[in-house]
Symmetry: C2
Subunit: 304 residues, 2 copies
């Protein structure tokens, strides 16, 4: 009845990675012959070829590509399940895999995770930042168990809890004309170089909530990966950036940068923790959210 097994998926994935049966076999601690037999049997039973044998190289056929996608989706879940079971065996509670969709939140997260690890010595924490299908997809696809994101999604199956409010502000260097200003209006950025994290513009609040509504684009847009470099660039007059006020204030002395309110009323933001509804009752998950919620005060900037 059942013909497709875990080993088949493992072979298909490994052959793709290594480029040849022989190399894949070595990786899987098997002989080339074993793989050949295994695949031959599978191809025979379902009546479909997995690869096109073009001379020496193996090109996945359509069914092969389909299986490859399935393998890349399913095998990590097997691996994680086994890992989790081993943790159960050792008396550990599990691994909380946290996904981040909010670059500057990393520093905030560290402040939550530190006491959490003390309170829950038997829980491991793992933080991930790259997801093929976005944070929501990673949550649904069991790549992660919790998501830190500024944009929640109240849908059946997921639950989001706001954990802190903050104000998004413009950061400028000491020589910048806006340094010390009460606030900045969109058109004042029309000739600026805007430094942001490397994500699409429609995921950046300074566009969606500030520039785009006013129909303004900055003169130049520079993507930078790390917050430190970003602040360094701003401090040395290479452009301006938009970051949470608390982050700017924490780094004000170190980098010599100043916050400026975005617009008269400021741009208010919230960070949410999301998890699968099915996990909502797990004690160590609840505890994390609770801890994150109570630390909210420390991270809150002055009210707008």
């Amino acid at each position: 009845m059942a013909i497709l097994e875990r080993i088949h998926l493992a072979i298909i994935r490994e052959v793709e990675r290594q480029g040849s049966l022989t190399a894949a076999a070595a990786q899987l601690n098997l002989t080339q012959s074993a793989l050949s037999h295994a695949i031959a049997k599978l191809e025979d039973q379902i009546g479909v070829k997995i690869w096109r044998r073009e001379g020496r190289s193996l090109q996945p056929t359509q069914p092969g590509a389909f299986l490859l996608a399935a393998a890349n989706r399913l095998l990590p879940q097997f691996a994680h399940a086994e890992e989790r079971l081993r943790q159960f065996a050792k008396g550990e509670r599990g691994t909380l895999r946290i996904g981040m969709e909010c670059h500057p939140c990393y520093q905030w997260l560290l402040k939550i995770v530190a006491p959490y690890l003390d309170n829950w010595p038997k829980v491991e924490v793992d933080v991930r930042q790259k997801f093929q299908f976005g944070g929501i997809g990673a949550l649904f696809g069991y790549e992660i168990d919790m998501l830190v994101t500024p944009d929640p999604l109240h849908k059946p199956g997921l639950r989001f809890t706001p954990v802190f409010d903050y104000e998004q502000v413009l950061v400028v260097g000491p020589e910048h004309p806006l340094c010390g200003a009460d606030f900045v209006l969109p058109h004042e950025l029309a000739e600026e170089t805007l430094i942001t994290y490397p994500v699409p513009a429609d995921r950046l609040d300074i566009y969606t909530q500030f520039l785009t509504p006013a129909g303004i684009s900055p003169r130049q847009h520079k993507p930078i990966e790390t917050t430190d470099i970003m602040l360094l660039m701003v401090a040395h007059g290479r452009g301006v950036a938009a970051l949470p006020r608390w982050l700017v204030e924490e780094n004000a002395a170190k980098f010599n940068v100043s916050p400026v309110r975005l617009g008269r009323d400021g741009v208010a933001k919230q960070i949410f923790l999301g998890l699968r509804e099915a996990d909502a009752d797990i004690d160590y998950m609840r505890a994390f959210i609770e801890l994150a919620s109570t630390r909210r005060v420390e991270a809150t900037p002055r009210p707008t």
Copy 2:
């Protein structure tokens, strides 16, 4: 290295379903002894018990429950993968699994699917309506390949295309005082019995876009599963309902019901088709969306 196999998940799921090893064994075409050995080996290798043997009954332990959840998630994907491979073998293109989050769209869908099946004789179509984690979750979890929904979600990994616009209207019976009225205002429904599909109020447009903003609740709220019964109830003065105008007009003669605009401007709605971005280039998927888009005219009611 790899210890957790498909068979283990199958056993765990089947034991849960059947309540006993013996019954599960019969279901899986194995002997009770085989299952016992298989599980004993697994428990031995990972060092964890799957069930608590309380006298005769088997209660899943915490790891057991975890594996059960994994089984319920993973096994259907194996089954579907095999099914899909068999279809490849037969020269078929695959099965388009369509999920519905929009009760009255069923009739519309039939009109799209009929010509589609003719154009793509090698593609099977399967329509599903129940999802544990909502339509979006089903899409991410590979339970379905396409989602028909009035509320889209533009997120990385998913793509939504609007396929038709319609007007949501109130439906009333021939004896109803509102019959023939130009439009209805929220307070006029305060003493009515409102018939809807059995979904939460925050998913019903008549609440979110009409009643709730005005702070009105109907006197009574009756959930009904099927459109026909709903129209029958309305026609016989048992209440009013909210449905797409095109649906009402199609059934006006058959059931003797009339549409009434909701508010002065009417309530405008759109239906979207959603799919995983990874599938966006598959020809028979594109074709379905194209077909659905071109049929848009027929379903469009008079403009508001």
